[in-house]
C-alpha cells in the first residue's frame, strides 16, 4: 500500500513544479508521510480506511464460513489461525465473538468514517470551498496519526492473552467490564480514535467558516460541503460522552470501581466481589448517545457525495437544494435525541419509549426529504451512466430499503420481536454497506481523476459495479428473512442448535456464498485502482465538466496551496444547463452573467 501512496504523491509533486515556482522543497518524510497538506492527508486517510475496510471484510468472511458450516474446519487458512482461536481449523465461539466485535469496530470507526470524513472530507472540502488548505494543517496531520495509532492499537489487541475484545462493537456492560485484556486495549484504541476525530471536526468546522472563497456564502456551498459541516458537529459533540464512558469503563476494569456493575451481580454462579451500586444501563445511554449520531456520521457524507455526482451526471441543478440543506441541519440536530430507540428492550419504561419512538419517527422525515429530492433530481435529466453515477444511483434504492426496514425497529411494539435478530443486522447493513459504501465507491470513481490526473477504467468499473450490486443484496436480503424467522444475532453457530431456526438456516448459506462472491467482485476495483495510477487515461482539469470549484478552478492533481490565485465565487453550486449559456455547465467562479 505504501508504494501506491508514494506513486500518488509523486504525481502530485511533479505537477507542483509546473505552476508553483515559489514552492520550497520538502524532504521525502515531510512530503509523503508527515505531510501537512490536506490532499496528502486525505489520501493517507482514504487508503488506510480502505485497507481497514478490506480487513474488516476479511474478518466477516471467516465468520460467514462459521455461520454457513458451523463446526466444520475452515478450508485452507483455518489451521493458520492457531490453536487458541481455531483448534484443527474449527473456529471457537470465543474467536467468533472477537471477530464479531472487531468487525463492527473496524468497519465503523476505522473504515467508513476515516474514508468518508477523513478521506473525502479532507481532500475535497478545502478544494470545494476554494481554500488553500485546512485552517490548522498541523492539527490535521496530528488527527491522521492519532487515527493511525488507534488503528494499530485496535489491531494489536488480537495478539494479547485472551484475544481481542469480545463484547460486541457496543461493548455492553457488565459483560465488557469483566472481559479479557482485549477490552482494555479496545478502550485505549477508542480514546485515540476519539482524539483523532475531535481534532478533525474542529478543523473542518473552522475551515468551512473561515477559509471560504470570496463570494462563497453558505447557500452557495455544494451539498457535500454542507454534509461534512453538519457531520463535523456530530463528531465534535457526540464523541466526548463516549470518551467519558470509556474512562468510566476503564476505571471499572483497572481501578476496580463499579460504575456499570450493580450490587449483587452474579457471574458464572459466583457473586462478584465489587462494591456495586453501578448501573449497566448507564453504559448503554452513554454509548448510544454517541452511536446514534454516529449513524448519521456514516450516512450524511454519503448523501453529500451522491448529491454531487447526481447533479453532475444529470446535468441539472439539484431539485430542492435549500430544503435538502434544512433537512440536513434538522437531521443533525434530531440525531442527538433519538438514541434510546436502541434500548426499547432494556425495560426503561413505556414513557421513555414513547418519547424516543416519536423522535425517531420525526427524524425519518428529513431523511425522506433528502432521498426524495435526489430521486426527483433525476427527472428529465439526460443522465450519463458512468461508473460513479451507477454507484450513486444504486445508493438511492439501497439506502431506501435500509431506511424503510428501520421503521419497524423505531416503533416500540414492532421492535420487541425483532430486537437483536438478524433483521436488525440486515437493516443497518442495507444503510451502511450497499448504501454508504456504494456512495464511497462512487466518490472514489468521481474524484480519482482530481487526485491523480488520470481516470479509472470504466469497463473495469462496470465489472465492479454489477456483481457488487447483486452480491450486496445477496448478502443482506436473506438476513431480513432470517430475522423475521426469529434467529438471534451474535450466535456463534448461526442458530444451528435452535429447533425453531431449522427452517431458516439455508439463508445463512445463501448469504455466505454471496459474501464470498462480493469479495471476488472487489478484484476489478483493486486492479483498477492500481492500474489506473499509471495507465489510466490522462484527464483535463475539469474532467466531468462540473461546476464546483475543485473541478472548475484547480488543476488535477492540485499543487501545494491548491489554486494559482484565490477563486472568487459568483453563483450557486449547480448551474447546469442554464438556458442560453455557452456550455451546459456554468462554474461557480465564472465571471459575467451565465446567459
Amino acid at each position: 500500500m505504501g508504494s501506491t501512496d508514494m506513486t500518488n504523491g509523486r504525481t502530485v509533486h511533479a505537477a507542483e513544479h509546473g505552476h508553483d515556482a515559489h514552492h520550497e522543497e520538502l524532504g521525502f518524510w515531510r512530503t509523503y508521510v508527515f505531510s501537512t497538506d490536506h490532499k496528502t492527508i486525505g489520501i493517507q486517510y482514504a487508503i488506510t480506511g480502505m485497507v481497514f475496510l478490506l480487513f474488516g471484510f476479511c474478518l466477516m468472511m471467516l465468520m460467514r464460513w462459521q455461520l454457513a458450516f458451523p463446526g466444520r474446519a475452515i478450508p485452507l487458512i483455518g489451521r493458520l489461525l492457531g490453536d487458541a482461536r481455531a483448534p484443527g481449523g474449527t473456529m471457537l465461539p470465543t474467536f467468533y465473538n472477537e471477530l464479531g466485535a472487531m468487525h463492527g469496530t473496524i468497519m465503523v470507526f476505522m473504515g467508513i468514517v476515516p474514508l468518508a470524513v477523513g478521506g473525502f472530507g479532507n481532500f475535497v472540502l478545502p478544494l470545494q470551498i476554494g481554500a488553500p488548505d485546512m485552517s490548522f494543517p498541523r492539527i490535521n496531520m496530528a488527527s491522521y496519526w492519532f487515527f493511525f495509532l488507534g488503528g494499530v492499537t485496535m489491531f494489536s489487541s488480537f495478539f494479547v492473552t485472551g484475544g481481542a475484545a469480545q463484547s460486541g462493537w457496543t461493548s455492553y456492560t457488565p459483560l465488557a467490564d469483566i472481559a479479557t485484556t482485549g477490552q482494555t486495549i479496545w478502550i485505549l484504541g477508542m480514546v485515540l480514535l476519539i482524539t483523532s476525530s475531535l481534532l478533525g471536526a474542529i478543523n473542518f468546522i473552522t475551515t468551512t467558516i473561515q477559509l471560504r472563497a470570496k463570494g462563497l456564502t453558505f447557500f452557495r456551498f455544494p451539498f457535500f460541503v454542507w454534509s461534512q459541516f453538519v457531520t463535523a458537529f456530530l463528531l465534535l459533540l457526540a464523541f466526548p460522552p463516549l470518551e467519558a464512558a470509556a474512562v468510566l469503563q476503564l476505571m471499572d476494569r483497572v481501578a476496580g470501581t463499579s460504575f456499570f456493575l450493580p450490587s449483587g451481580l452474579v457471574v458464572s454462579g459466583q457473586a462478584l466481589q465489587v462494591s456495586g451500586g453501578g448501573n449497566p444501563l448507564l453504559w448503554q445511554h452513554l454509548f448510544w448517545f454517541l452511536a446514534h449520531p454516529e449513524v448519521y456520521v456514516l450516512i450524511l457524507p454519503a448523501m453529500g457525495i451522491v448529491a454531487e455526482i447526481i447533479a453532475n451526471n444529470t446535468r441539472k441543478p439539484l431539485w430542492g437544494y435549500r430544503s435538502m440543506v434544512y433537512s440536513l441541519i434538522f437531521l443533525g440536530f434530531m440525531s442527538f435525541i433519538v438514541w434510546a430507540h436502541h434500548m426499547f428492550m432494556t425495560g426503561m419504561g413505556t414513557r421513555m419509549a414513547s418519547f424516543f419512538q416519536t423522535t425517531t419517527m420525526i427524524i425519518s422525515i428529513p431523511s425522506v426529504v433528502i432521498l426524495t429530492s435526489l430521486i426527483i433530481s433525476l427527472w428529465g435529466g439526460s443522465i450519463r451512466f458512468n461508473t460513479a453515477m451507477l454507484f450513486a444511483l444504486a445508493f438511492l434504492p439501497m439506502f431506501g430499503i435500509g431506511g424503510l426496514t428501520g421503521l419497524p425497529l423505531g416503533l416500540n411494539v414492532t421492535d420487541i420481536p425483532l430486537h437483536d435478530t438478524y433483521y436488525v443486522i440486515g437493516h443497518f447493513h442495507y444503510v451502511v454497506a450497499p448504501g454508504t459504501i456504494f456512495a464511497l465507491f462512487a466518490g472514489v470513481y468521481y474524484w480519482y481523476p482530481k487526485a491523480t490526473g488520470r481516470a479509472m477504467s470504466e469497463t473495469l468499473g462496470k465489472w465492479h459495479f454489477w456483481p457488487s450490486l447483486v452480491c450486496m443484496n445477496g448478502v443482506f436480503l436473506p438476513m431480513l428473512f432470517l430475522g423475521l424467522a426469529g434467529v438471534s444475532r451474535r450466535l456463534a453457530d448461526g442458530g444451528a442448535t435452535y429447533q425453531f431456526a431449522q427452517g431458516a438456516l439455508h439463508y445463512n448459506k445463501a448469504s455466505s456464498f454471496a459474501a464470498w462472491g462480493l469479495a471476488v467482485a472487489q478484484i476489478p476495483f483493486i486492479v483498477n485502482f492500481f492500474w489506473s495510477l499509471k495507465h489510466g487515461a490522462k484527464t483535463e482539469p475539469n474532467h466531468w465538466h462540473a461546476t464546483t470549484l475543485e473541478w472548475a478552478a484547480a488543476p488535477s492533481p492540485p499543487g501545494h496551496g491548491n489554486f494559482k490565485e484565490p477563486p472568487v465565487v459568483t453563483r450557486g453550486p449547480y448551474e447546469y444547463s442554464v438556458p442560453g449559456a455557452a456550455t451546459d455547465f456554468t462554474p461557480q467562479n465564472a465571471t459575467g452573467s451565465a446567459a
Partner: protein
Amino acid sequence: MSAMEIPYTVHERPDTGLTSGKIGIWLFLASEVMLFGALFATYILLRVGAVTWPHGREYLNIRLATINTIVLITSSVTMVMAWASLKRDQFGRYRLYMGLTVLCGLGFLFIKYLEYSHKFETGLYPKTNTFLAIYFTMTALHGLHVLGGMVVNSYFWGPGAKLWQTDKEHFTNRVENAGLFWHFVDLVWIFLFPVLYLL
C-alpha cells in the same frame, strides 16, 4: 512549514469577525462541555439510583477544597491580567502574571495531592464505593486538564514567548485562547466543588 500562508490566523476574517484560532478553541470547549456533561449526568444517575449516598463532608476535606477554589479563581484573575498586560504592551508584567497563573495551578495540584494521599492513607480508594469512584474519576480528569493548561501556560511563559518579538498580535491571540481554556478548567471546578463536596 511552507511558503503558503493560511489566512485569518492572526487577523480576523472581516465577515465573521473572528480568527480561526478563536473558533477552534471555542469548538474544543464545546466538546469539553459534552465530556464533563456526560460525567455530571453519570453522577446524577448514580446518585438518584443509589439506596444511600454519603454527604461529601463524610469523606472529603471541605476546608482544603475551599482554599483550592480560591487558588483557582485567583489564577483566572492573573490569567486575565497577563493577557491585559500584553494588550497594553507591558511584556514584563505579562511574565509576572503568567508566572503567577502557573504557580497557582501548581498550588492547586499540590493541595489536590494532599487530599488524595490522605484518602489513600486512610484506605479510601475508587473501588471503595460509587461516591468515591465518581469523586476520584472526575477530580482526576479535571486535574489532568489543570496539568494540560499549566503545560500550555508554561510554554507561553517561556519558549513560546519568543513570538512576542516577531508578532505581538499573534502572541496576544494565543495567550487569549490559552486563557479561554484556563477559565473553562476553572469553571469545571466551580461545578465540581459544590456537587462533590457540599451537596
